[in-house]
């Protein structure tokens, strides 16, 4: 199966050097940059193929395709600042490059996808630091940081966060459903309705869409808010929103089972995990944002 993805992954490789700013001087000045970019592609093409394959196949990471575009936009948006940033080559970036290479080798040899993917971001930072200086790293820190969102978190750690949230959502939903006339029997993530069981197979997974929502909240905050404090607040709001959206999903399905057609409800349940969840979450994000504006209105001319 993994061989089938080679084609679109090759295309995605062209996105790799996006984070390195294109400020090459005239003439053959681009040659050193090109040779470094070529080596980076040689180093990371396998890692990139697998990453793009994961974005395409893991529904909870399909937002990965948007993240490099967003990062590229951020760089473009900052082009005036970047042009005025003084270029000072520095030896200090070299240890970071060595470190990221070590992380990459460890990740590839140890078959640890997360570390080998993260090493790409370290290497990018190290290269920018070495050839453009610390001021440039500072100017580009947000686009670099945003790229982390495209990297699937190790499940062994991520489940520690999302799994309790999933249990919470199931519990709230099974408390709400009886109020709406649907009796439930609730065991962990498994909710038994009078006619059917819900979420049996998903008993092992937490709120996996949390990462998509978090990314969405970061984008939303960047475009619609001006201060970092409020952006962080919005990003954090994605956690309760993810729980709320999951509660809505389970309650909605429960109502369909009880008052409509169990067969169709199950289809609805799975559809719901896709775009309806997205719409509900976006609406919640908007409401939280509105509430924030009501509680503490933005002072004019804040930077």
């Amino acid at each position: 199966m993994p061989y089938a993805v080679d084609v679109d992954a090759k295309e995605a490789n062209t996105e790799l050097p996006l984070t390195s700013p294109s400020g090459a001087p005239a003439g053959l000045g681009w040659l050193p940059y090109a040779s470094i970019a070529l080596l980076v592609v040689v180093l990371y093409y396998r890692v990139a193929i697998k990453l793009v394959y994961d974005w395409a196949t893991l529904p909870d990471y399909s937002h990965g395709f948007l993240v490099p575009l967003f990062a590229a936009f951020l760089v473009w948006d900052k082009r005036k600042v970047l042009q005025t940033t003084p270029i000072r080559q520095s030896w200090f970036g070299v240890p970071l490059i060595v470190f990221s290479i070590a992380v990459l080798i460890l990740g590839v040899y140890g078959v640890e996808l997360f570390t080998s993917r993260m090493s790409f971001l370290f290497l990018m930072t190290g290269l920018i630091w070495t050839f453009f200086g610390w001021a440039m790293v500072r100017a580009l820190r947000f686009p670099l940081l945003v790229l982390v969102l495209a990297i699937p978190f190790p499940a062994i750690l991520f489940n520690q966060i999302t799994f309790p949230l999933q249990l919470l959502a199931s519990r709230i939903a099974s408390d709400i459903l009886p109020l709406l006339g649907v009796p439930t029997l609730h065991e962990g993530n498994v909710i038994e309705l009078p006619v059917m069981k819900l979420e049996v197979a998903e008993a092992c997974s937490g709120i996996r869409s949390l990462m998509s929502l978090f990314t969405l909240a970061v984008f939303y905050g960047y475009f619609l808010e001006r201060t970092n404090r409020r952006r962080v607040l919005l990003a954090l709001a994605s956690i309760p929103i993810a729980v709320a959206a999951n509660v809505a999903r389970i309650v909605g399905t429960g109502l369909c089972v009880q008052y409509w057609d169990p067969e169709k409800a199950l289809g609805f349940f799975h559809e719901f995990s896709g775009w309806v969840m997205f719409v509900i979450s976006l609406a919640c994000l908007y409401l939280v944002h509105r509430a924030m504006q009501l509680i503490s209105p933005v002072r004019a001319q804040t930077t």
Binding site: V111, T130, G188, V200
Partner: protein
């Protein structure tokens, strides 16, 4: 740009590319028998397969799975009271975890199915051939129902109860041996209302001791 820095970085990146290319991207997968060949009888125990649903298989991922309930035949036992409850055996074997395939921790699956962990400890047990295993013992409950659980991660002849240590060893073994195969072995038995916890532990332990010598055929050392 044509500075010592530039050449240093070029040399660093090029040598890394060489190191990575020399490794390739396929791991060594040792030959093993499919888990379905696990004996259906040991001692007084007789197996009954419990098929996994397609949904469950989709969550578990690309591996070989065994899900069975072993019941002891009353005739073969002397004291029937201690062996009445059946024992469930689950083994998930992954030939390669390279593609991000990982073993699902019962720490998630069991609470997901409504069970809460009442107690947990790591301990050792010796199978009937005297081979030592490091295992985790857990008591889980759901309402009035109590179960005694033994599980551990088995890879390359090593048994590890802790999932983080198992992961660390997987990384280390991938580096040292280019192998990422591994398995989760889980034994569960119900603590009957009429029996003590120790009697359920005894049952689960005895079953594990009988079953464990079969494991190396399916989970290569």
């Amino acid at each position: 740009m044509r500075s010592p820095r530039f050449w240093l970085v070029i040399v660093l990146l090029a040598s890394t590319a060489f190191i990575l290319q020399s490794r390739g991207d396929a791991d060594r997968i040792p030959i093993s028998q499919p888990l379905s060949q696990m004996p259906e009888h040991f001692g007084g125990w007789t197996a009954q397969d419990v098929p996994l649903t397609d949904d469950t298989l989709a969550v578990l991922g690309k591996g070989d799975f065994l899900n069975r309930i072993y019941t002891s035949q009353p005739a073969a036992t002397t004291s029937s009271t201690t062996r009445l409850a059946p024992v469930s055996l689950f083994i998930g074997y992954f030939a390669s975890q390279r593609t991000g395939q990982t073993m699902h921790s019962p720490q998630n699956c069991l609470p997901g199915a409504g069970w809460t962990f009442d107690s947990q400890r790591y301990t050792g047990l010796q199978d009937i051939n005297g081979k030592r295993y490091k295992v985790g013992e857990y008591v889980i409950s759901n309402g009035d129902i109590k179960q005694f659980v033994i599980y551990w991660y088995q890879a390359h002849g090593r048994s590890i109860p802790n999932e983080y240590r198992a992961k660390l060893y997987m990384v280390a073994d991938a580096i040292r041996m280019n192998r990422t195969d591994g398995a989760l072995v889980r034994v569960i038995t119900q603590v009957l209302p009429s029996e003590s916890l120790d009697s359920a532990r005894e049952r689960a332990t005895q079953f594990t001791q009988l079953m464990a010598p079969n494991l190396p055929r399916f989970i290569p050392d």
